[in-house]
């Protein structure tokens, strides 16, 4: 068994309005960062995961991301294995 470092990014779907991101964008504009035209807030997870192979680690991580870490109604996810 090997230890794998997993990174999971959870994002709101493009079709879903993000009131938090919009508020951050508005604050940045107020601060003078006029070039920021959009902010989308998401979630980032770091996991240590023990598995036989990189493929197994990725499969487990994707299952966890799909079942628990994201809500498929409003979010999408991306899984990276960084060893």
């Amino acid at each position: 068994l090997k230890d794998f470092q997993v990174r999971v990014y959870v994002r709101l779907k493009a079709s879903v309005h993000d009131p938090q991101g919009e508020t951050i964008r508005g604050a940045l504009e107020t601060m003078g960062y006029a070039g920021v035209t959009e902010v989308r807030q998401g979630k980032y997870f770091e996991m240590s995961l023990r598995a036989e192979t990189r493929e197994d680690a990725e499969a487990t991580a994707r299952e966890i991301a799909n079942r628990v870490l994201s809500n498929p109604v409003i979010e999408t996810f991306q899984v990276d294995i960084v060893e």
């Binding site: 879903v16 309005h17 009131p19 938090q20 628990v68 809500n71 409003i74």
Partner: protein
């Protein structure tokens, strides 16, 4: 006499209000059931109360849906018995896949705690069978994540299937933008599943069963619930 189960998750905080309303106000048999239990045998309906199950960590309801008791809740729903999610309980039922849609952060980003006016859209539910379509109910809400969202196809299904139970409205019954406290799509405040036995709503019927509390419109929902299991 019917028996009601009031579920308790770590972080639930309205189970006492629901229990009091059922037992003391409505004179029913009701018991608290801890989320680690695995059976709801002997109960005719289950209520998931408001609060912050598991601290709302990750997403409201996201951890609670994996509690051992949820298997029994799903079986109860499949058996056609009433399953009612109030506020945080609504969020748990959506995360568990018993109701469609999801909650986003309120449009204002604030925790909203106030009275709202609600128009009854469907009376074919365990909470509104004692109401008439178009009735206006005044009830309290208290939540930060009550901005109901469903994708276009799902929304269409909810609307055409008469699964929208309540809409935020003006006191005269207009579901206007101004009357929408959280940004919910189509002003939706409560829905029922396709089968008509699983209900989720943001307003707290457990906080308005006596006019001393500001309004007693929650009584009509408790009466409906009792009628639906009798």
């Amino acid at each position: 006499m019917p028996r009601f189960a009031v579920l308790v998750f770590p972080g639930s905080n309205c189970e006492g209000d629901v229990l009091y309303a059922l037992r003391e106000v409505m004179g029913q048999e009701a018991e608290l059931v801890w989320h680690k239990e695995t059976s709801l045998a002997g109960f005719d309906a289950a209520l998931l109360p408001g609060g912050f199950a598991h601290g709302d960590y990750l997403r409201p309801g996201a951890i609670a849906r994996f509690s051992p008791i949820m298997e029994a809740v799903i079986s109860m729903a499949e058996a056609g018995k009433p399953v009612i999610g109030i506020c945080n309980g609504f969020q748990v039922l959506m995360e568990a896949g018993l109701l469609p849609g999801a909650m986003l952060r309120n449009r204002s980003l604030h925790y909203v705690c106030r009275y709202v006016d609600l128009r009854v859209e469907s009376t074919a539910t365990p909470l509104t069978n004692a109401c008439t379509t178009g009735d206006i109910l005044r009830m309290p809400i208290g939540h930060a994540d009550g901005n109901f969202y469903a994708e276009a196809a799902e929304l269409e299904k909810l609307e055409t299937g008469c699964q929208v139970m309540l809409r935020y409205a003006t006191p005269s019954g207009e579901p206007s933008e101004d009357a929408n406290p959280n940004g919910s799509i189509h002003n939706i405040a409560g829905i029922v599943n396709e089968r008509g036995n699983v209900v989720g709503l943001m307003p707290h019927l457990d906080r308005c069963y006596d006019s001393d509390l500001g309004t007693d419109h929650g009584l009509r929902m408790f009466r409906s619930l009792i009628a639906s299991v009798s």
